[in-house]
Amino acid sequence: MTAKESPAGSSLSTAVVAPRVTRLRENTLLFSFTDDHSKAPELILQKRVWALAAWLEERRESLGLLEIVPGMGNLLLSTAVQSVGACSTRDSAGIFDLDSLSDQILILWPTLASTDIKGRTIEIPVIYGGDAGPDLKEVAAHTGLSPDDIIARHCAGEYRVYCLGFQPGFAYLGGLDAALATPRRATPRLVIPAGSVAIGGSQTAVYPSTTPGGWQIIGHSVLKMFDPEQVQPSLLMPGDLVRFINMGGS
Protein backbone atom coordinates (compact mmCIF):
# COMPACT_ATOMS: atom_id res chain seq x y z
CA MET A 1 0.00 0.00 0.00
CA THR A 2 1.57 3.27 -1.03
CA ALA A 3 -0.92 5.78 0.28
CA LYS A 4 0.25 8.95 1.90
CA GLU A 5 -1.16 12.13 3.27
CA SER A 6 -0.78 15.53 1.74
CA PRO A 7 2.11 17.54 3.19
CA ALA A 8 0.00 20.66 2.73
CA GLY A 9 -3.09 19.09 4.26
CA SER A 10 -3.19 21.22 7.41
CA SER A 11 -3.49 24.46 5.46
CA LEU A 12 -6.59 23.35 3.60
CA SER A 13 -9.97 24.84 4.21
CA THR A 14 -12.24 22.79 6.45
CA ALA A 15 -14.35 21.77 3.46
CA VAL A 16 -11.46 19.86 1.97
CA VAL A 17 -9.68 16.94 3.60
CA ALA A 18 -6.12 15.96 2.85
CA PRO A 19 -6.06 13.96 -0.38
CA ARG A 20 -5.24 10.29 -0.22
CA VAL A 21 -2.96 9.06 -3.00
CA THR A 22 -2.71 5.43 -4.04
CA ARG A 23 -0.25 4.03 -6.56
CA LEU A 24 -2.44 1.52 -8.38
CA ARG A 25 0.30 0.25 -10.63
CA GLU A 26 3.60 1.51 -11.98
CA ASN A 27 1.93 4.08 -14.27
CA THR A 28 -1.29 4.83 -12.36
CA LEU A 29 -2.22 7.11 -9.46
CA LEU A 30 -5.60 7.56 -7.77
CA PHE A 31 -6.26 10.76 -5.81
CA SER A 32 -9.23 10.70 -3.43
CA PHE A 33 -10.26 14.12 -2.20
CA THR A 34 -13.05 13.18 0.17
CA ASP A 35 -13.51 10.67 2.99
CA ASP A 36 -17.28 10.74 2.84
CA HIS A 37 -18.34 8.08 0.37
CA SER A 38 -21.98 8.03 1.46
CA LYS A 39 -23.13 10.82 -0.84
CA ALA A 40 -22.07 12.76 -3.92
CA PRO A 41 -19.22 15.17 -3.11
CA GLU A 42 -19.99 18.83 -2.45
CA LEU A 43 -20.06 20.81 -5.69
CA ILE A 44 -17.29 23.08 -4.35
CA LEU A 45 -15.02 20.02 -4.04
CA GLN A 46 -15.99 18.59 -7.42
CA LYS A 47 -15.18 21.97 -9.04
CA ARG A 48 -11.65 21.61 -7.71
CA VAL A 49 -11.47 18.14 -9.24
CA TRP A 50 -12.44 19.70 -12.58
CA ALA A 51 -9.83 22.43 -12.10
CA LEU A 52 -7.17 19.79 -11.45
CA ALA A 53 -8.30 17.79 -14.50
CA ALA A 54 -8.04 20.96 -16.62
CA TRP A 55 -4.57 21.71 -15.23
CA LEU A 56 -3.43 18.18 -16.07
CA GLU A 57 -5.10 18.26 -19.49
CA GLU A 58 -3.03 21.36 -20.40
CA ARG A 59 0.10 19.41 -19.49
CA ARG A 60 -0.94 16.07 -21.03
CA GLU A 61 1.98 16.09 -23.47
CA SER A 62 4.69 17.56 -21.27
CA LEU A 63 3.88 15.28 -18.34
CA GLY A 64 3.42 12.29 -20.63
CA LEU A 65 -0.08 11.62 -19.35
CA LEU A 66 -2.22 8.96 -21.00
CA GLU A 67 -5.49 9.02 -19.04
CA ILE A 68 -6.89 11.81 -16.85
CA VAL A 69 -10.18 10.57 -15.38
CA PRO A 70 -12.10 12.75 -12.96
CA GLY A 71 -14.51 10.67 -10.85
CA MET A 72 -16.84 11.57 -7.99
CA GLY A 73 -14.54 13.52 -5.68
CA ASN A 74 -11.50 11.75 -7.06
CA LEU A 75 -9.17 11.65 -10.04
CA LEU A 76 -7.27 8.81 -11.68
CA LEU A 77 -4.30 9.38 -13.95
CA SER A 78 -1.96 7.16 -15.88
CA THR A 79 1.20 7.95 -17.80
CA ALA A 80 2.00 6.84 -21.32
CA VAL A 81 5.70 6.42 -20.69
CA GLN A 82 5.07 3.31 -18.67
CA SER A 83 2.28 1.88 -20.74
CA VAL A 84 2.81 -1.32 -22.70
CA GLY A 85 0.08 -0.79 -25.22
CA ALA A 86 0.15 2.88 -25.99
CA CYS A 87 3.76 3.79 -26.61
CA SER A 88 6.78 2.56 -28.44
CA THR A 89 8.84 -0.14 -26.81
CA ARG A 90 11.77 2.28 -27.14
CA ASP A 91 10.32 4.85 -24.72
CA SER A 92 11.51 3.02 -21.65
CA ALA A 93 14.75 4.99 -21.30
CA GLY A 94 13.43 7.19 -18.51
CA ILE A 95 10.84 5.53 -16.31
CA PHE A 96 8.74 8.48 -15.33
CA ASP A 97 8.93 9.55 -11.71
CA LEU A 98 5.33 9.32 -10.52
CA ASP A 99 6.27 10.19 -6.94
CA SER A 100 7.37 13.68 -7.96
CA LEU A 101 4.23 14.14 -10.07
CA SER A 102 2.17 13.08 -7.06
CA ASP A 103 3.98 15.58 -4.81
CA GLN A 104 3.47 18.32 -7.40
CA ILE A 105 -0.28 17.65 -7.46
CA LEU A 106 -0.55 17.55 -3.65
CA ILE A 107 1.14 20.96 -3.44
CA LEU A 108 -1.08 22.30 -6.21
CA TRP A 109 -4.36 20.96 -4.79
CA PRO A 110 -4.95 23.47 -1.95
CA THR A 111 -4.09 26.37 -4.26
CA LEU A 112 -6.60 25.38 -6.93
CA ALA A 113 -9.46 27.80 -7.07
CA SER A 114 -12.83 26.11 -7.14
CA THR A 115 -14.07 28.72 -9.56
CA ASP A 116 -16.68 27.62 -12.04
CA ILE A 117 -15.47 26.07 -15.21
CA LYS A 118 -17.52 27.52 -18.02
CA GLY A 119 -20.22 24.89 -18.07
CA ARG A 120 -22.85 25.16 -20.75
CA THR A 121 -26.56 24.67 -20.22
CA ILE A 122 -27.87 21.75 -22.26
CA GLU A 123 -31.57 21.13 -22.69
CA ILE A 124 -32.59 17.53 -23.26
CA PRO A 125 -36.02 16.94 -24.80
CA VAL A 126 -37.72 13.88 -23.29
CA ILE A 127 -40.84 11.89 -24.11
CA TYR A 128 -42.00 10.53 -20.77
CA GLY A 129 -43.96 7.37 -19.98
CA GLY A 130 -45.69 4.92 -22.30
CA ASP A 131 -43.38 2.85 -24.50
CA ALA A 132 -40.72 5.56 -24.10
CA GLY A 133 -40.74 5.21 -20.31
CA PRO A 134 -42.04 1.77 -19.31
CA ASP A 135 -41.05 2.16 -15.64
CA LEU A 136 -42.75 5.51 -15.00
CA LYS A 137 -45.61 3.64 -13.30
CA GLU A 138 -43.19 1.77 -11.08
CA VAL A 139 -41.51 5.02 -10.04
CA ALA A 140 -44.98 6.40 -9.31
CA ALA A 141 -45.85 3.34 -7.21
CA HIS A 142 -42.61 3.61 -5.24
CA THR A 143 -42.61 7.37 -4.69
CA GLY A 144 -46.35 7.77 -4.20
CA LEU A 145 -46.32 10.60 -6.74
CA SER A 146 -48.50 10.76 -9.84
CA PRO A 147 -46.76 10.29 -13.23
CA ASP A 148 -47.45 13.97 -14.06
CA ASP A 149 -45.91 15.01 -10.75
CA ILE A 150 -42.82 12.90 -11.43
CA ILE A 151 -42.41 14.49 -14.87
CA ALA A 152 -42.88 17.99 -13.46
CA ARG A 153 -40.31 17.40 -10.74
CA HIS A 154 -37.85 15.74 -13.12
CA CYS A 155 -38.11 18.73 -15.49
CA ALA A 156 -37.90 21.28 -12.67
CA GLY A 157 -34.49 20.03 -11.64
CA GLU A 158 -31.19 21.59 -12.62
CA TYR A 159 -28.58 18.89 -12.95
CA ARG A 160 -24.82 19.20 -12.89
CA VAL A 161 -22.53 16.85 -14.83
CA TYR A 162 -20.03 15.58 -12.23
CA CYS A 163 -18.10 13.23 -14.49
CA LEU A 164 -18.42 10.90 -17.47
CA GLY A 165 -18.05 7.14 -17.36
CA PHE A 166 -19.72 3.74 -17.57
CA GLN A 167 -20.44 4.23 -21.30
CA PRO A 168 -19.01 6.73 -23.79
CA GLY A 169 -20.82 10.01 -23.07
CA PHE A 170 -22.69 8.70 -19.99
CA ALA A 171 -22.95 11.62 -17.55
CA TYR A 172 -23.07 11.20 -13.76
CA LEU A 173 -25.60 13.89 -12.88
CA GLY A 174 -26.02 15.51 -9.48
CA GLY A 175 -29.28 17.16 -8.47
CA LEU A 176 -32.13 14.64 -8.64
CA ASP A 177 -35.12 15.64 -6.49
CA ALA A 178 -34.83 13.32 -3.46
CA ALA A 179 -38.56 12.56 -3.73
CA LEU A 180 -37.90 10.83 -7.08
CA ALA A 181 -35.27 8.40 -5.79
CA THR A 182 -36.30 4.84 -6.67
CA PRO A 183 -34.32 1.63 -6.20
CA ARG A 184 -33.03 -0.24 -9.22
CA ARG A 185 -35.25 -2.97 -10.62
CA ALA A 186 -34.98 -6.31 -8.82
CA THR A 187 -34.30 -7.99 -12.16
CA PRO A 188 -32.19 -5.89 -14.50
CA ARG A 189 -33.48 -5.45 -18.04
CA LEU A 190 -31.51 -7.17 -20.78
CA VAL A 191 -31.85 -4.04 -22.89
CA ILE A 192 -31.97 -0.40 -21.91
CA PRO A 193 -32.30 1.31 -25.31
CA ALA A 194 -29.98 4.16 -26.28
CA GLY A 195 -31.60 7.49 -25.39
CA SER A 196 -33.37 6.11 -22.31
CA VAL A 197 -33.84 8.58 -19.47
CA ALA A 198 -33.72 6.64 -16.23
CA ILE A 199 -33.60 6.80 -12.44
CA GLY A 200 -31.37 4.49 -10.40
CA GLY A 201 -31.37 5.10 -6.65
CA SER A 202 -30.79 8.81 -6.13
CA GLN A 203 -29.34 9.35 -9.61
CA THR A 204 -30.77 10.10 -13.02
CA ALA A 205 -29.10 9.73 -16.40
CA VAL A 206 -29.50 9.50 -20.15
CA TYR A 207 -28.09 6.31 -21.73
CA PRO A 208 -25.95 7.14 -24.81
CA SER A 209 -25.92 3.55 -26.05
CA THR A 210 -27.93 0.38 -25.58
CA THR A 211 -26.93 -1.72 -22.59
CA PRO A 212 -28.35 -4.15 -20.05
CA GLY A 213 -29.14 -2.53 -16.70
CA GLY A 214 -31.36 -2.17 -13.69
CA TRP A 215 -32.33 1.50 -13.74
CA GLN A 216 -35.98 2.53 -14.00
CA ILE A 217 -36.69 3.90 -17.48
CA ILE A 218 -39.03 6.91 -17.26
CA GLY A 219 -38.57 8.42 -20.72
CA HIS A 220 -36.65 8.66 -23.96
CA SER A 221 -34.69 11.41 -25.71
CA VAL A 222 -33.82 11.57 -29.40
CA LEU A 223 -30.67 13.61 -28.72
CA LYS A 224 -27.46 11.89 -29.75
CA MET A 225 -25.43 11.85 -26.54
CA PHE A 226 -22.21 10.54 -28.08
CA ASP A 227 -20.77 10.57 -31.59
CA PRO A 228 -17.21 9.25 -31.96
CA GLU A 229 -16.86 10.99 -35.34
CA GLN A 230 -17.17 14.48 -33.83
CA VAL A 231 -14.26 16.58 -32.58
CA GLN A 232 -16.18 16.89 -29.31
CA PRO A 233 -17.76 13.41 -29.15
CA SER A 234 -19.69 13.79 -25.90
CA LEU A 235 -22.74 16.10 -25.78
CA LEU A 236 -22.33 16.53 -22.03
CA MET A 237 -19.07 17.45 -20.32
CA PRO A 238 -18.19 17.85 -16.62
CA GLY A 239 -19.44 21.18 -15.30
CA ASP A 240 -22.34 21.42 -17.75
CA LEU A 241 -25.85 22.13 -16.49
CA VAL A 242 -28.61 19.88 -17.75
CA ARG A 243 -32.34 20.51 -17.94
CA PHE A 244 -34.95 18.03 -19.12
CA ILE A 245 -37.75 19.39 -21.30
CA ASN A 246 -41.09 17.56 -21.38
CA MET A 247 -41.99 16.82 -25.01
CA GLY A 248 -45.13 14.93 -24.04
CA GLY A 249 -46.15 11.58 -22.72
CA SER A 250 -47.40 10.08 -19.48
Binding site: M1, T2, A3, T22, R23, L24, R25, E26, N27, T28, L30, S32, T34, H37, S38, A40, P41, A53, R60, L66, E67, I68, V69, P70, G71, M72, G73, N74, L75, L76, S78, A80, Q82, S83, V84, G85, A86, S88, T89, R90, S92, I95, C163, L164, G165, F166, Q167, P168, G169, F170, Y172, P208, S209, T210, T211, F226, P228, E229, P233, S234
Partner: protein
Protein backbone atom coordinates in the same frame (compact mmCIF):
# COMPACT_ATOMS: atom_id res chain seq x y z
CA UNK B 1 -9.63 -7.83 -49.99
CA UNK B 2 -10.27 -10.64 -47.53
CA UNK B 3 -13.67 -12.31 -47.50
CA UNK B 4 -15.03 -13.94 -44.36
CA UNK B 5 -16.42 -17.31 -45.55
CA UNK B 6 -17.20 -18.64 -42.08
CA UNK B 7 -16.97 -17.04 -38.71
CA UNK B 8 -17.55 -18.13 -35.12
CA UNK B 9 -18.51 -15.65 -32.43
CA UNK B 10 -16.09 -13.01 -31.25
CA UNK B 11 -13.59 -12.41 -33.99
CA UNK B 12 -12.86 -8.69 -33.85
CA UNK B 13 -10.59 -6.12 -35.47
CA UNK B 14 -8.20 -4.83 -32.79
CA UNK B 15 -4.99 -2.85 -32.50
CA UNK B 16 -3.02 -1.62 -29.49
CA UNK B 17 -6.13 0.05 -28.09
CA UNK B 18 -7.91 3.36 -27.80
CA UNK B 19 -6.06 5.43 -25.23
CA UNK B 20 -6.60 8.86 -23.73
CA UNK B 21 -10.41 9.02 -23.82
CA UNK B 22 -11.45 7.38 -20.56
CA UNK B 23 -12.53 10.79 -19.22
CA UNK B 24 -15.28 10.68 -21.89
CA UNK B 25 -16.31 7.18 -20.81
CA UNK B 26 -14.57 5.57 -23.79
CA UNK B 27 -12.94 2.27 -22.89
CA UNK B 28 -9.62 0.96 -24.11
CA UNK B 29 -10.73 -1.92 -26.34
CA UNK B 30 -7.72 -3.25 -28.29
CA UNK B 31 -6.10 -6.67 -28.33
CA UNK B 32 -6.00 -8.35 -24.93
CA UNK B 33 -2.45 -9.40 -25.83
CA UNK B 34 -0.71 -6.32 -27.26
CA UNK B 35 2.59 -8.21 -27.36
CA UNK B 36 1.14 -10.70 -29.85
CA UNK B 37 -0.03 -7.75 -31.99
CA UNK B 38 3.44 -6.23 -31.94
CA UNK B 39 4.97 -9.60 -32.84
CA UNK B 40 2.66 -10.18 -35.80
CA UNK B 41 3.14 -6.68 -37.14
CA UNK B 42 6.91 -6.83 -36.74
CA UNK B 43 7.08 -10.10 -38.65
CA UNK B 44 5.19 -8.50 -41.54
CA UNK B 45 7.03 -5.17 -41.51
CA UNK B 46 3.82 -3.38 -40.48
CA UNK B 47 3.75 -0.44 -38.10
CA UNK B 48 3.20 -1.64 -34.50
CA UNK B 49 -0.25 -0.06 -34.43
CA UNK B 50 -1.58 -1.84 -37.55
CA UNK B 51 -4.90 -3.60 -36.90
CA UNK B 52 -5.12 -7.39 -36.69
CA UNK B 53 -7.86 -9.95 -36.09
CA UNK B 54 -8.37 -11.27 -32.56
CA UNK B 55 -9.92 -14.75 -32.66
CA UNK B 56 -11.21 -16.58 -29.60
CA UNK B 57 -13.88 -18.92 -30.94
CA UNK B 58 -13.47 -20.89 -34.14
CA UNK B 59 -13.93 -21.68 -36.83
CA UNK B 60 -12.78 -18.82 -39.01
CA UNK B 61 -12.39 -19.25 -42.75
CA UNK B 62 -10.98 -16.37 -44.80
CA UNK B 63 -10.48 -16.14 -48.58
CA UNK B 64 -7.79 -13.82 -49.88
CA UNK B 65 -8.35 -12.30 -53.33
CA UNK B 66 -4.72 -11.20 -53.65
CA UNK B 67 -1.31 -12.48 -52.62
CA UNK B 68 -0.76 -11.55 -49.01
CA UNK B 69 1.72 -12.28 -46.24
CA UNK B 70 0.15 -13.20 -42.89
CA UNK B 71 1.41 -14.09 -39.43
CA UNK B 72 -0.31 -15.99 -36.64
CA UNK B 73 0.58 -15.12 -33.04
CA UNK B 74 -0.99 -15.74 -29.63
CA UNK B 75 -2.20 -19.19 -28.71
CA UNK B 76 -4.87 -21.79 -29.11
CA UNK B 77 -5.59 -22.34 -32.80
CA UNK B 78 -4.22 -24.44 -35.59
CA UNK B 79 -4.49 -22.72 -38.94
CA UNK B 80 -4.10 -24.18 -42.38
CA UNK B 81 -3.81 -22.85 -45.91
CA UNK B 82 -6.41 -25.04 -47.51
CA UNK B 83 -5.34 -25.45 -51.06
CA UNK B 84 -1.90 -26.60 -50.11
CA UNK B 85 -3.07 -28.21 -46.90
CA UNK B 86 -0.16 -26.39 -45.30
CA UNK B 87 -0.11 -25.56 -41.61
CA UNK B 88 0.45 -21.95 -40.65
CA UNK B 89 3.33 -22.05 -38.22
CA UNK B 90 2.62 -19.67 -35.33
CA UNK B 91 5.18 -16.90 -35.01
CA UNK B 92 6.26 -17.21 -38.65
CA UNK B 93 5.28 -15.42 -41.84
CA UNK B 94 3.30 -17.38 -44.42
CA UNK B 95 2.52 -16.32 -47.98
CA UNK B 96 -1.09 -16.70 -49.03
CA UNK B 97 -1.71 -16.81 -52.78
CA UNK B 98 -4.65 -15.05 -54.39
CA UNK B 99 -7.70 -17.30 -54.18
CA UNK B 100 -6.42 -19.31 -51.22
CA UNK B 101 -8.34 -19.76 -48.02
CA UNK B 102 -6.98 -19.72 -44.49
CA UNK B 103 -8.88 -21.86 -42.00
CA UNK B 104 -8.61 -21.54 -38.25
CA UNK B 105 -10.46 -24.59 -37.02
CA UNK B 106 -11.93 -25.04 -33.61
CA UNK B 107 -9.76 -23.68 -30.85
CA UNK B 108 -7.58 -26.29 -29.20
CA UNK B 109 -8.09 -24.48 -25.91
CA UNK B 110 -11.60 -22.99 -25.73
CA UNK B 111 -11.37 -19.30 -24.88
CA UNK B 112 -7.72 -18.90 -25.83
CA UNK B 113 -6.82 -16.03 -28.13
CA UNK B 114 -5.03 -16.04 -31.42
CA UNK B 115 -4.06 -13.05 -33.54
CA UNK B 116 -3.90 -13.02 -37.32
CA UNK B 117 -1.89 -10.13 -38.72
CA UNK B 118 -1.90 -9.38 -42.45
CA UNK B 119 0.65 -7.38 -44.45
CA UNK B 120 -0.53 -3.76 -44.53
CA UNK B 121 -2.87 -4.30 -41.58
CA UNK B 122 -6.66 -4.58 -41.59
CA UNK B 123 -7.83 -1.31 -43.12
CA UNK B 124 -10.79 0.04 -41.16
CA UNK B 125 -11.25 3.74 -40.32
CA UNK B 126 -9.42 5.24 -37.37
CA UNK B 127 -12.01 6.25 -34.78
CA UNK B 128 -10.72 8.31 -31.85
CA UNK B 129 -7.16 7.33 -32.66
CA UNK B 130 -7.69 3.58 -32.95
CA UNK B 131 -9.00 0.88 -35.27
CA UNK B 132 -10.09 -1.29 -32.35
CA UNK B 133 -13.67 -2.52 -32.09
CA UNK B 134 -15.57 -1.13 -29.11
CA UNK B 135 -18.16 -3.92 -28.93
CA UNK B 136 -20.19 -2.30 -26.14
CA UNK B 137 -20.45 1.18 -27.62
CA UNK B 138 -20.59 -0.23 -31.15
CA UNK B 139 -18.00 1.81 -32.97
CA UNK B 140 -14.50 1.23 -34.34
CA UNK B 141 -13.32 -1.95 -36.05
CA UNK B 142 -15.65 -3.21 -38.76
CA UNK B 143 -18.99 -1.43 -38.18
CA UNK B 144 -18.43 -1.57 -34.41
CA UNK B 145 -19.17 -5.29 -34.16
CA UNK B 146 -17.53 -8.73 -34.32
CA UNK B 147 -16.98 -10.15 -37.81
CA UNK B 148 -19.80 -12.05 -39.52
CA UNK B 149 -19.89 -14.47 -42.39
CA UNK B 150 -19.89 -12.51 -45.64
CA UNK B 151 -17.89 -9.54 -44.33
CA UNK B 152 -15.16 -8.15 -46.57
CA UNK B 153 -12.01 -6.69 -45.09
CA UNK B 154 -9.67 -4.32 -46.90
CA UNK B 155 -5.97 -4.41 -46.21
CA UNK B 156 -3.65 -1.42 -46.06
CA UNK B 157 -0.69 -0.84 -48.33
CA UNK B 158 2.22 -3.19 -47.69
CA UNK B 159 5.25 -0.96 -47.62
CA UNK B 160 7.96 -3.45 -46.82
CA UNK B 161 8.95 -7.05 -47.15
CA UNK B 162 8.06 -9.51 -44.48
CA UNK B 163 10.55 -11.39 -42.37
CA UNK B 164 11.63 -14.55 -44.25
CA UNK B 165 9.57 -17.56 -43.22
CA UNK B 166 12.60 -19.41 -41.89
CA UNK B 167 13.04 -16.84 -39.14
CA UNK B 168 10.26 -16.62 -36.58
CA UNK B 169 9.51 -15.88 -32.99
CA UNK B 170 8.43 -18.12 -30.20
CA UNK B 171 5.21 -17.06 -28.53
CA UNK B 172 5.43 -16.17 -24.85
CA UNK B 173 3.94 -18.78 -22.55
CA UNK B 174 1.58 -17.50 -19.88
CA UNK B 175 2.73 -18.34 -16.36
CA UNK B 176 -0.79 -18.08 -14.91
CA UNK B 177 0.78 -15.99 -12.16
CA UNK B 178 -0.50 -12.43 -12.21
CA UNK B 179 1.78 -10.08 -10.32
CA UNK B 180 -0.18 -7.32 -8.60
CA UNK B 181 0.03 -4.40 -6.20
CA UNK B 182 -2.40 -4.15 -3.28
CA UNK B 183 -5.33 -2.05 -4.47
CA UNK B 184 -6.76 1.18 -3.03
CA UNK B 185 -9.23 -0.73 -0.84
CA UNK B 186 -6.92 -3.59 0.18
CA UNK B 187 -7.02 -2.62 3.84
CA UNK B 188 -10.83 -2.76 3.87
CA UNK B 189 -10.71 -6.56 3.54
CA UNK B 190 -10.29 -8.96 6.47
CA UNK B 191 -6.74 -10.19 7.11
CA UNK B 192 -7.94 -13.69 6.26
CA UNK B 193 -9.33 -12.49 2.91
CA UNK B 194 -6.12 -10.65 2.06
CA UNK B 195 -4.22 -13.87 2.75
CA UNK B 196 -6.74 -15.93 0.78
CA UNK B 197 -6.45 -13.55 -2.15
CA UNK B 198 -2.73 -14.15 -2.59
CA UNK B 199 -2.68 -17.81 -1.60
CA UNK B 200 -5.49 -19.53 -3.41
CA UNK B 201 -5.81 -20.72 -6.97
CA UNK B 202 -8.57 -18.68 -8.63
CA UNK B 203 -10.51 -20.53 -11.27
CA UNK B 204 -11.50 -18.57 -14.38
CA UNK B 205 -15.29 -18.66 -14.63
CA UNK B 206 -17.08 -19.36 -17.92
CA UNK B 207 -18.82 -15.98 -17.78
CA UNK B 208 -15.47 -14.29 -18.40
CA UNK B 209 -15.14 -12.13 -21.48
CA UNK B 210 -13.29 -9.11 -22.83
CA UNK B 211 -14.88 -6.96 -20.11
CA UNK B 212 -13.42 -8.99 -17.31
CA UNK B 213 -12.23 -12.31 -15.97
CA UNK B 214 -14.65 -13.60 -13.36
CA UNK B 215 -12.96 -15.71 -10.74
CA UNK B 216 -14.28 -18.57 -8.63
CA UNK B 217 -12.79 -19.56 -5.30
CA UNK B 218 -13.13 -18.85 -1.61
CA UNK B 219 -15.16 -15.62 -1.41
CA UNK B 220 -13.48 -12.52 0.02
CA UNK B 221 -14.95 -10.51 2.89
CA UNK B 222 -14.78 -6.86 3.83
CA UNK B 223 -14.18 -5.81 7.43
CA UNK B 224 -17.43 -3.89 7.18
CA UNK B 225 -19.73 -2.94 4.36
CA UNK B 226 -18.07 -0.31 2.23
CA UNK B 227 -19.69 2.36 0.14
CA UNK B 228 -17.44 3.92 -2.45
CA UNK B 229 -17.85 6.93 -4.69
CA UNK B 230 -17.40 6.09 -8.35
CA UNK B 231 -13.80 6.42 -9.50
CA UNK B 232 -11.78 5.72 -12.61
CA UNK B 233 -10.81 2.09 -13.17
CA UNK B 234 -8.35 0.47 -15.60
CA UNK B 235 -7.79 -2.96 -17.14
CA UNK B 236 -6.01 -5.13 -14.57
CA UNK B 237 -7.88 -3.68 -11.59
CA UNK B 238 -9.30 -6.48 -9.44
CA UNK B 239 -12.78 -5.52 -8.24
CA UNK B 240 -14.68 -7.43 -5.57
CA UNK B 241 -18.47 -7.07 -5.87
CA UNK B 242 -20.81 -8.11 -3.05
CA UNK B 243 -20.54 -11.80 -3.98
CA UNK B 244 -16.95 -11.66 -2.72
CA UNK B 245 -15.73 -13.22 -5.96
CA UNK B 246 -13.18 -11.02 -7.74
CA UNK B 247 -13.37 -9.73 -11.29
CA UNK B 248 -10.16 -8.79 -13.10
CA UNK B 249 -11.15 -5.94 -15.39
CA UNK B 250 -10.03 -6.38 -18.98
CA UNK B 251 -9.85 -4.13 -22.05
CA UNK B 252 -13.60 -3.71 -22.61
CA UNK B 253 -14.32 -2.83 -18.98
CA UNK B 254 -16.20 0.37 -18.22
CA UNK B 255 -14.13 3.42 -17.32
CA UNK B 256 -15.59 4.17 -13.90
CA UNK B 257 -16.52 1.78 -11.12
CA UNK B 258 -17.62 1.70 -7.52
CA UNK B 259 -16.64 -1.76 -6.24
CA UNK B 260 -13.77 -2.19 -3.77
CA UNK B 261 -10.47 -2.95 -5.47
CA UNK B 262 -8.32 -5.47 -3.61
CA UNK B 263 -5.44 -5.40 -6.09
CA UNK B 264 -4.20 -4.11 -9.44
CA UNK B 265 -2.36 -6.41 -11.86
CA UNK B 266 0.91 -4.87 -13.06
CA UNK B 267 1.28 -3.94 -16.71
CA UNK B 268 3.95 -6.50 -17.51
CA UNK B 269 1.40 -9.27 -16.82
CA UNK B 270 -1.71 -7.78 -18.46
CA UNK B 271 -1.08 -9.65 -21.74
CA UNK B 272 -1.71 -12.88 -19.86
CA UNK B 273 -5.40 -11.95 -19.49
CA UNK B 274 -5.70 -13.04 -23.14
CA UNK B 275 -4.40 -16.52 -22.42
CA UNK B 276 -6.09 -17.74 -19.24
CA UNK B 277 -9.23 -19.34 -20.66
CA UNK B 278 -12.24 -20.45 -18.58
CA UNK B 279 -11.55 -23.56 -16.55
CA UNK B 280 -7.89 -22.71 -15.98
CA UNK B 281 -6.62 -21.11 -12.78
CA UNK B 282 -4.51 -18.11 -11.88
CA UNK B 283 -2.60 -17.05 -8.80
CA UNK B 284 -1.91 -13.49 -7.74
CA UNK B 285 1.57 -12.67 -6.54
CA UNK B 286 2.14 -9.55 -4.48
CA UNK B 287 4.94 -7.28 -5.72
CA UNK B 288 6.20 -3.78 -4.92
CA UNK B 289 6.09 -0.76 -7.24
CA UNK B 290 9.84 -1.15 -7.82
CA UNK B 291 9.40 -4.78 -8.79
CA UNK B 292 6.55 -3.79 -11.12
CA UNK B 293 8.79 -1.22 -12.81
CA UNK B 294 11.62 -3.73 -13.13
CA UNK B 295 9.23 -6.23 -14.70
CA UNK B 296 8.06 -3.61 -17.18
CA UNK B 297 11.62 -2.60 -18.10
CA UNK B 298 12.53 -6.24 -18.62
CA UNK B 299 9.52 -6.71 -20.87
CA UNK B 300 10.50 -3.61 -22.85
CA UNK B 301 14.02 -4.98 -23.28
CA UNK B 302 12.63 -8.27 -24.54
CA UNK B 303 10.46 -6.40 -27.06
CA UNK B 304 13.33 -4.18 -28.17
CA UNK B 305 15.60 -7.18 -28.70
CA UNK B 306 12.86 -8.88 -30.70
CA UNK B 307 12.43 -5.72 -32.78
CA UNK B 308 16.16 -5.46 -33.46
CA UNK B 309 16.42 -9.08 -34.46
CA UNK B 310 13.39 -8.98 -36.76
CA UNK B 311 14.41 -5.64 -38.30
CA UNK B 312 17.78 -7.03 -39.23
CA UNK B 313 16.05 -10.07 -40.74
CA UNK B 314 13.86 -7.64 -42.70
CA UNK B 315 16.90 -5.75 -44.00
CA UNK B 316 18.48 -8.99 -45.16
CA UNK B 317 15.26 -9.81 -46.99
CA UNK B 318 15.26 -6.54 -48.93
Amino acid sequence: MIEVLRCGALTTVQDLGRHGYRHLGVGQSGALDPIAVRQGNLLLGNPAEAAVLEISVGPLVLRFDQDCAVALTGSGFVATIDHGGIDLLPGHVAMIAAGDTVTLSKSLVPGARTYLAVAGGIDVPLVMGSRSTDINARFGGLHGRPLQTGDKLATGLCSTNAVPAKKGIRPLSPSHILRALPGPDYESFTAQSCEDFWNQAWRINHQSNRMGLRLSGHALELLQSLELLSAGVLPGDVQVPSSGLPIVLANDAQTIGGYPRIACVIQADLWQLAHVPPGTSVYFQQVTVDEAITALVQQRRYLSRMEDSLRSALREAC
